[in-house]
Point group: C2
Chain length 181, copies 2
């Protein structure tokens, strides 16, 4: 059992450990430090032929708006496995993950998004419990006015920029907190 | 104050929330769910001219072995800021981050590594508290037999593969838990 597992049920206090420069969660019994880290969202721009998979959110925030299949990475999975799992949970879509399209950081909410480029292995999709509906959209059919989050805009546009390219750099956030979109 | 901030000091229990499929940390007072996520390591392959910055570890694990400047990302910073911070803390090196070199997943320890390609803005470096010594190494001078972790091998070799290229795909782990190195 890991140190972390052993301490899941113990009392924690917040203090600056010796040699450190910021407050941490520290086990009041033995001094084990439970570092707080940013959370990783994994997702994909996944296509069937030229059409992109989007999901209309059935949950808050941004219920009713369209998003890419994406969500919090779980423990004991790879980033790519997590992106494939989210596509299955939200759209019953099976993916072949190709490569990293982009890595976005949103420091305000301590979040990192790893977005993959992927292909659907079949066009059979259906709304999962967190989606009101799902669809495959040609570029000109994307409901641009009903997109849930800035990073969905970023990822769609980065995807379009590198469409058909097999060697392209993973991308950073565009400038500005919302990427000037 | 965020939900998470409000609950930092409250009692948590472990149970499967309604509609979920796995055990979570849940606030015993109000049901707030504190999801556990993989941790993000941010680091860089950083060069001055043709030489690569390496740090000899002054701490466990793998004390005395050489590694890239890298460490756990902190809350409220971007991945690139974190990589630059680690280079400063471990080697008093100032970086210009260029792009994402690789995204490695290590599901066994629930870790994701985001490794950047970067340039030092000056060759002035010095060992920080977590380094026994630091150095700038030409490719043929790298102490290959004293490298701390498989992912350091991966990143160095991925760096070499794309050296001089301005458009290259971010990389995944090589096959196998240690990347067949």
């Amino acid at each position: 059992m890991s140190d972390f597992e052993q301490h899941k049920r113990r009392p924690f206090v917040r203090k600056v450990p010796e040699g450190d420069d910021r407050e941490r969660r520290v086990c009041a019994d033995c001094g084990f430090i439970d570092y707080e880290n940013p959370k990783i969202v994994v997702g994909s721009v996944a296509t069937w032929e030229d059409r992109i998979l989007l999901c209309r959110r059935a949950i808050h925030p941004r219920k009713g708006f369209w998003t890419l299949p994406a969500g919090y990475m779980e423990v004991n999975e790879s980033a790519a496995e997590g992106a494939a799992r989210e596509a299955w949970e939200e759209a019953f879509a099976r993916l072949e993950i190709e490569t990293v399209l982009a890595v976005y950081s949103i420091p305000r909410i301590s979040q990192v998004q790893v977005i993959f480029r992927a292909r659907l292995t079949s066009p059979d999709i259906a709304a999962g419990p967190e989606s009101e509906e799902v669809g495959l959209f040609g570029w000109d059919e994307i409901p641009w006015d009903e997109i849930a989050f800035p990073s969905v805009h970023w990822a769609l546009n980065h995807f379009d920029e590198v469409r058909g390219q097999t060697g392209f750099a993973a991308r950073f956030n565009p400038p500005g907190e919302t990427g000037d979109y």
